[in-house]
Amino acid sequence: MTLIDTRTPDPKRFIAGTTDDWEIIIGLEVHAQVTSKSKLFSGASTEFGAEPNANVSLVDAAMPGMLPVINEECVAQAVRTGLGLNAQINLRSVFDRKNYFYPDLPQGYQISQFKDPIVGEGIVTVSVGPDKQGNFEDIEIGVERLHLEQDAGKSMHDQHPTMSFVDLNRTGVALMEIVSKPDLRSADEAKAYITKLRTILRYLGTCDGNMDEGSMRADVNVSVRKPGGDFGTRCEIKNVNSIRFIGQAIESEARRQIAILEDGGTIDQETRLFDPAKGETRSMRSKEDAHDYRYFPDPDLLPLEFSQAYVDQLKSDLPELPDAKRSRFIGEGLSAYDASILVSEKAIADFFEQVAEGRDSKTAANWVINNLLGKLNETSQEIEDTPVSPDQVGGIIDLIKEGTISGKIAKDLFDIIWEEGGDPAEIVESRGMKQVTDTGAIEAAVDEVIAANPDKAEQAKEKPNLAGWFVGQVMKASGGKANPQAVQELVKQKLGIE
């Protein structure tokens, strides 16, 4: 593959070594587990957490004479993903054997796609930021290809002094390997790219993006160079399984390479592992022959072919994707920042849209972002766990709009519903949380506060800002239930401030 540099070197992305500035060049190979019930070439289940070797068929165990038969849903999922990445869909692709020996791969080869992948070049638009000025920058990251392949099994090395234990449940589960172009220039860009990729896959429903269960893992290629120079020798950091670790691995690997180069040394092209405990990468193994996979077309499988009509059908059934949703939200009056937060998870966007239905979208966005997401974050919960429904949030907003409750009381009401559930209007009624709009009652409260603070009332005639203090006192006295606008007007009127 010819490497083409599509990015302009930008000093804000350089990192300083001891003697020079350096630019980091990063490419990611993301392995995303395809969401399907059964495996890529066998009818065994893909369910996570089953008993050892329970989800294994004779095909997965590579018993002699067994033949692979492709799962049509996995093909559809790969095509959907390609469409979601604005990529070229190849109507004809070929499965190859990638030959290597390891106990978690009983076939002695992985069925993968080498020369002719199912998906070709695509583009992911990534929003990086905010910078110190609070601005976001949109960058386009090229996708080189996406291909289908089999996952390997799992080995455990800590169960026995001299033996490793092998579980083939994951063997043969479909993976999509999504290879980026070397377009990424910082750890932040790489993290933003994989976050965006994960969001897109989750919207599409083609990968659950669950990194804890290994549904998404990345091999990270890192090299450094003097800004604008030729690409340097790269090292590949294998199997990094969290977005945070990807960032750390890139930072530490870049530092390691810069230190070697500034010392007059050279980088050996090698495979490395990231050790999260130490926060550094280390050489994985000497792999003199490791890259000699001797790929050849799998004689057990015919070429994978489908029609453009099939692709068009899948395309017409795709859900609205995050970029399109974000543009639509901005068009409906939201700020780019709010829209980006709301589309980060499909479930959040869906929640917001239910709240916003028939209501002011800006208000709905504020409530979902500040109150709901704030509270979820505080209690370390996901949107799926929310005890408050969109209807309940909508009910609270309606009560504010009608003037039944004040904004402050609304926050208390939200907390009550979070803890106890219930209908917002009924709670307001039964707990006497209604806003006092009766001018007579408010007037009395204002008079009382002014009478109790004659000095301040006198000063306020000179310093109109003091009116705010009176408003606060009246609100406090009313337990937050007085209508703030009414209070403000009356205070000004009584103090004789225009």
Partner: protein
């Protein structure tokens, strides 16, 4: 194209085959005979001929995404030289 003895040994190693020097020499001869035959095929002019992937004109058969297999762990490990709790046991493979 022909292979030297080192290539034969390297390919054998990649395929995890133990090959004595004597056998390697014999295999070198056999492999070179095969490569010679392929070279002969290369002389045929195939310009404009579609590569043939199957002798019968057919599409790859696909299956529906349904779980039809599994839940036979004991059977799966029954041929293994060593197993415990339905795990395969193999000589430790970590450095």
């Amino acid at each position: 194209m022909s292979v030297d003895i080192d290539t034969v040994k390297r390919v054998a190693k990649l395929a995890r085959l133990a090959v004595t020097d004597e056998r390697a020499e014999r295999m070198q001869g056999e492999l070179n005979a095969i490569l010679g035959f392929v070279e002969q095929l290369n002389e045929v002019d195939v310009d404009g001929v579609e590569p043939m992937t199957s002798v019968v004109e057919m599409e790859m058969r696909k299956r529906a995404d349904v779980v039809t297999d599994g839940n036979k762990a004991a059977e799966i490990v029954s041929n293994a030289p060593a197993s415990e709790d339905n795990f395969f046991m193999v000589p430790k493979v970590i450095e």
